[in-house]
Amino acid sequence: MGVSATITMIFAAVLMLLIVLGFVTYAIYFERKVLGWMQLRIGPNRTGPFGLLQSVADVFKLLIKEDTIPSKADRALFILAPAIAFVPSFAVIATLPFGENLYFADLNVGLLYYGALSSISTMGIILGGWASNNKYSLLGGMRSAAQMISYEVPLILSMVGVILMSGSLNLRVIVEGQEGWFWQWNLFPQIIAFGVFIIAAISELNRTPFDLPEAESELVAGYHVEYSGFRFAFFMLAEYTYMFAVSALTTVLFLGGWHAPAPFLEFIPGFIWFVLKFAGCVFFLFWIRASMPRIRVDQLMGLAWKVLLPIALVNIFLTAFVKMLLQ
């Protein structure tokens, strides 16, 4: 790789980081707005016009707060943990195709790369819980890790149905296989996988109804009890970056990526379609959060292993069987 190519790459990565930061800022704002509207309130409206500066103010508050590190904490790991949680969440974006020619890396194992990297974030969470040297954060970290690892299994297995449909792990090829009318998107042939994927993905994101790791009304917080200031902000940033990544992944895997819902609508650029579908996914996450109570902790593991996993497995065999019949 030449020098100019490297510089272009770094520039593009920085631009992407800025886009993600902007997304996170306004995702939080819209989350609070949507939650407010759904609860018959109006949401944040005091800071800036329409409250648009609310999350900027919140982030600024976090940045100027005292950065506390407990004296008995494992200092190195305590500092490292938020970075370990955040870096994979940003790195997975590299493989997501946002448009026909708009992607960072055209990996032929894109989906595998996504799955592998996103499980590294669990490490950051466990490390954060362990390095705090606090029994509550350790328990919280263990709980989150158990949840995230359990739900990763049905999440990956539900992707297998999509992989069988397109015969490739390359996310770009998966999108290309969904060209045409909207019923050719993987959403409809793979409706079972889609259901499992959505549930498992929400759980991976630690969002309501699976927000047990930091259940506000039950615990003080989970693995990040001892974190303050910008290290805490980093954990939150990782969570919202994953929201970006998972919404984009849902769009790519099930909603036809950059393809228009009908061939005659192809004149509208693919990127716009991608953004629309992506925004729909993000809104769906907020909507679910506004609607559902938290799942009970004793039902959490049962749902993953006894319900979602068998359904995902059945879906794989069903897909393979139908595909064989059609040949």
């Binding site: 949507v34 509207w37 759904m38 609860q39 018959l40 309130r41 909507w287 506004a290 609607s291 559902m292």
Partner: protein, 151 residues
């Protein structure tokens, strides 16, 4: 499944339904008539009978009278009249016992100040507190209420 869909429907409708919150500090909140707010005092009507001070459960009213300058009239005139809003519970009893309706309720309720001393309100302040006065007091009941009583 059906329950989840129903719940999602409820929250989706919530997006467009009228919001129940008030824009309170920006827009004043209009209380209903008969709200028990800060009292309005009319010194000209007061006969210094002391009933309000005696009925007050928190003893927050202190008043003094002075002899009438007109020697023909025996009724005293009010000299000082203070309500201590640190302890006043806005119970409405003083306005009920007042035989001349010299003290009546208003719908105003904003009493917050930076100093506790400011909560001691005197005759002039209470007399100037003359907005949003309760329209229906025991002396001037509306015809329907006077006839049929409470329904």
């Amino acid at each position: 499944m059906k329950g989840i869909a129903k719940g999602l429907g409820v929250t989706l409708r919530g997006l467009t339904t009228k919001k129940v919150t008030h824009n309170y500090p920006d827009e004043p909140l209009n209380m209903p008539d008969r709200f028990r707010g800060v009292q309005h005092f009319i010194p000209e009507l007061c006969i210094v009978c002391n009933q309000c001070a005696r009925i007050c459960p928190t003893e927050c009213i202190t008043l003094t009278g002075k002899p009438n300058p007109d020697p023909e009239k025996r009724v005293k005139l009010i000299d000082t009249f203070d309500i201590n809003f640190e302890i006043c519970i806005l119970c409405d009893l003083c306005t009920e016992v007042c035989p001349t309706e010299a003290i009546v309720m208003t719908n105003n309720f904003e009493l917050a100040t930076y100093s506790r001393d400011d909560l001691m309100k005197d005759k002039d302040w209470l007399s100037d507190n003359n907005t949003n006065i309760r329209s229906e007091n025991s002396r001037n009941l509306s015809p329907a209420a006077a006839k049929g009583g409470a329904k």
